[in-house]
């Protein structure tokens, strides 16, 4: 059966070149970089050059990067580490209603410890309101955390402007760039970013490795305690092969980003156009222009998302209903809710995220299957009545 993977925002397979670069560090150059002997020093060398390479891509110094077990840990560390380090200065954190769960749950955890959290609204395209941000900053505010680009609907935030506002007001700025690396042009110095979370597996790197950038001068308490790795900031034996893989994946993603993005945008816009032209009662979620190059997200009225997902799956097409993290939960996506999508419509949200290997032919196949499945599911739905090709609520 034909298989079309359109869930690259959930995860990607490791690029063959990347895997090839990682492989020697599993069984051959396997030393612990903390060891003083030659086995350790060889491993340390690979870690150092990986760190240098990633720092260059982000516009920071190598000693401002700390490796973590992924984007989730980086988000936890940034939010919780800044809170405990600065809570004597203030207990107020500003974030948004459309953050990844790693940020939201970390903020909710801190609320139990006495933190006050402001969750900024977004407009119907999922863009944060800069006026509301400015008005929310008080002298108790220590941190603003805004996702660079949303993982569900793909909306890209005005990160540089947020950075400028935070700098002017003297509060720290964290951004979760897990979905944005390679897709959005980021320079942490130019954009006044104080902390930034990364993960490798969204851009053809391995799962289970990420990084937190912490600007020199920012105090961020360590989160994983123990040994002296990462200059005493993040304990745990250094994951050499995965770090090498992350650096290789990021280099490929960032250095080829123009070309990659051009191709992805063509696919994205074609699918959006074909759905809007060919499928009634379908609504695009997210911003039309300030949007991740690989993200298409639609609601299909009268249909529930999981059913559509599983039907497409039977035809070999992999998509996501909402985000991989929330599918399986009963509540509608917190992102769509924040954008004002009514719950019965939000139930049908379906995310298609393209990758390097997708083609225009994939789109033909997907649109064909989509039409057929939506016909079937809508025919089955008590909410749907076909009237002269037009659909209305019962």
């Amino acid at each position: 059966m034909r298989r079309v993977y359109l869930d690259h925002a959930a995860t990607t397979g490791v690029d063959r070149d990347v895997l090839e670069k990682m492989t020697p560090y599993f069984s051959d150059t396997f030393g612990n970089p903390n060891s003083l002997h030659s086995f350790g020093r060889e491993a340390e060398k690979a870690v150092t050059s990986s760190r240098d390479a990633i720092a260059k891509l982000l516009g920071c110094k190598p000693n401002e990067l700390y490796f973590t077990s992924g984007g989730t840990e980086a988000d936890n560390w940034a939010i919780k580490g800044i809170y405990t380090a600065y809570k004597n200065k203030g207990n107020h954190i500003i974030t948004t209603k459309i953050e990844h769960k790693a940020v939201l749950a970390s903020c909710q955890r801190l609320q139990k410890d006495g933190a006050e959290i402001t969750y900024l609204d977004v407009d119907k395209y999922g863009t944060v309101d800069l006026e509301q941000l400015k008005n929310s900053i008080t002298d108790k505010t220590i941190l603003v955390s805004v996702i660079t680009a949303n993982n569900e609907v793909g909306t890209i935030q005005p990160i540089a402007e947020i950075g400028r506002i935070c700098k002017e007001r003297g509060v720290l700025f964290h951004t979760d760039a897990v979905q944005a690396i390679g897709a959005v042009d980021i320079d942490v110095k130019r954009d006044n970013i104080d902390l930034l979370s990364l993960s490798a597996h969204k851009v053809y790197g391995p799962k289970g490795i990420g990084a937190l950038y912490i600007r020199n001068g920012v105090k961020c308490d360590r989160y994983i305690s123990g040994g002296s790795q990462e200059r005493g900031m993040r304990a745990g034996t250094t994951n050499v092969p995965l770090i090498v893989g992350m650096a290789a994946a990021f280099e490929k993603a960032v250095l080829n980003s123009e070309e990659n993005n051009k191709k992805l945008i063509r696919l994205r816009d074609e699918l959006i156009q074909r759905i809007e032209a060919g499928i009634p009662n379908s609504y695009l979620n997210g911003h039309r222009i300030n949007r991740l190059p690989n993200n298409v997200n639609f609601c299909f009225e009268f249909v529930e998302g999981e059913s559509l997902l599983l039907m497409l799956d039977m035809q070999g097409i992999a998509v996501s209903s909402g985000s991989a993290c929330t599918s399986g939960s009963l509540e509608p996506s917190h992102v769509l809710s924040a954008m004002g999508v009514p719950p019965e419509i939000a139930q049908s949200a379906t995310r298609f995220t393209f990758g390097r290997e997708n083609t225009m032919e994939d789109i033909d196949y997907v649109v064909e299957c989509l039409k057929k499945n939506l016909m079937t599911l809508r025919a089955m739905s008590p909410l749907f009545k076909q009237e002269k090709g037009d659909a209305k609520h019962v």
Binding site: V303, P332, P343
Partner: protein
């Protein structure tokens, strides 16, 4: 995550549709919660001669509807009233914990459709 039986009943659901002159109709659920199930029954001499459904919901909801309608066809309404969501789950060879409520909807839809039939008969 779903059993083979669930997937069969989802991929090729039985008894999808509307009975225009139904003797009893039961609707349960709420689109804001993610599932609506509407069950149509044709009843002759207290025996369910036909059953159809329309469902807006996940695979488990569709499979539960398909299985429940199959289970009650040919049964008397008293027999049909004894059918529990557990029996629907068993017939489906299991449901994930998070999806148990779908089988409850099926049980409730049957009960409501029979209630509807009885209340209509009275009037």
């Amino acid at each position: 995550m779903y059993s083979q039986k669930v997937m069969e009943n989802f991929a090729n659901p039985k008894n999808v549709g509307v009975i225009e002159d139904a003797d009893g109709i039961g609707t349960v659920g709420n689109p804001t919660c993610g599932d609506i199930m509407k069950m149509y029954l044709k009843i002759e001499n207290d025996v369910i001669t036909d059953a159809k459904f329309q469902t807006f919901g996940c695979a488990a909801a569709i499979a539960s509807s398909s299985m429940a309608t199959q289970m009650i066809k040919g049964k008397t309404i008293d027999e049909a009233l004894t059918i529990t969501n557990r029996q629907v789950i068993e017939a489906l060879e299991g449901l994930p914990p998070k999806k148990i409520h779908c089988s409850v909807l099926a049980e409730e839809a049957i009960k409501l459709a029979i209630e509807d039939y009885r209340s209509k008969k009275k009037t």
